[in-house]
Symmetry: C2
Subunit: 196 residues, 2 copies
């Protein structure tokens, strides 16, 4: 990487961390310039608007999520083992991401649902892509004969998403010691229904 | 109500609407004064700090949630009908609340999870109280013989919470037309497992 790319990467890394704590709305050029001891004009050379910066933070975080969660999960055998790997990797994401404020996407989803525009549109695409990955993995379970033929993969995807959101809520907000075990039991129930 | 109480109620109502869109962090005394055409000093007479204002907005919204969701659900017959009423009322809450930005608590949960202090502490209590209500309603189902004796009511509560969070995500962010039907199917699966 060239020096400019390295700088850009480290700016995005810091911005993603900030966004995980205070939301995408909190990552202003001014706040970044102050945190990173860079000039505002230097930052504008990398990102020519706040929306451009937010979009790139989303792309940066999505690339990290793909590396940490999706890619290793897809390396697992098709069907139930792959769904299981996806769930396990996903639960390890807030720590694996290195972002201090938990999942940036959970934060952004709530923050942007009322804010029309290109950043919201991009997040919606990303979240739909993620739901599609879950549904596609579930479908491999049908093909492999692990799951029943009339399984609704999109139904399973929304349910698994809910298990993760409730786990994120219970562990991060409530600091509930049983959050993890309950999420695991909820996952097993979804798998058991998919098998029948 | 006295005039001062009426003013206070309408300030809280407006503040709750604002918080549902931009988060509790967005309801500053300055923003409210400007929106409501009141003086800052007049607002400070009602709320002597930003944290006090945020706490009262949480109380205001929780009282509304109790009136719109909890109280009517508890009027349903014990056991499964009551759990069903709770779920249905809960799904109608973002509209019934009259808040423009969806559920204020979903927004606040993500916003405050990294912000220690009295507002976060109060929200945690409220969310734990809500999970306790779900678990208690599930327990009436065991007593009434609708649900199996070894049901884990807290497990059910976290799962139902997840169904609602995924539904909120799918309907508000993704504008998924099937969000509602999928949440309904997820609820039925939880009830079916509780029955066995």
């Amino acid at each position: 990487m060239r020096k400019g790319d390295l700088t850009r990467q480290s700016i995005l890394e810091h911005a993603a961390g900030l966004a995980s704590r205070v939301g995408l709305g909190g990552i202003t050029i001014g706040a970044l310039a102050s945190d990173l001891d860079l000039s505002k004009s230097g930052l504008f050379a990398h990102f020519d608007s706040k929306a451009a910066l937010q979009l790139q933070v989303l792309e940066h975080a999505a690339a990290r999520f793909t590396e940490a969660v999706i890619r290793p999960a897809l390396a697992a055998p098709r069907g139930e083992p792959r769904l299981r790997a996806l769930f396990e990797r996903w639960r390890s994401w807030p720590k694996a991401s290195g972002l201090p404020g938990g999942c940036l996407f959970v934060q952004a989803a709530v923050e942007l649902d009322d804010q029309p525009g290109p950043v919201r549109d991009r997040l919606v695409q990303q979240q739909r892509d993620l739901l599609d990955v879950i549904a596609t993995v579930a479908r491999t379970g049908v093909v492999e004969g692990h799951f029943r033929k009339d399984l609704d993969p999109e139904q399973l995807a929304q349910e698994l998403f809910g298990v993760i959101l409730a786990w994120h809520h219970a562990s991060r907000l409530l600091r509930e010691p049983k959050a993890d075990a309950r999420a695991g039991a909820a996952f097993e129930a979804i798998v058991a229904r998919a098998r029948r």
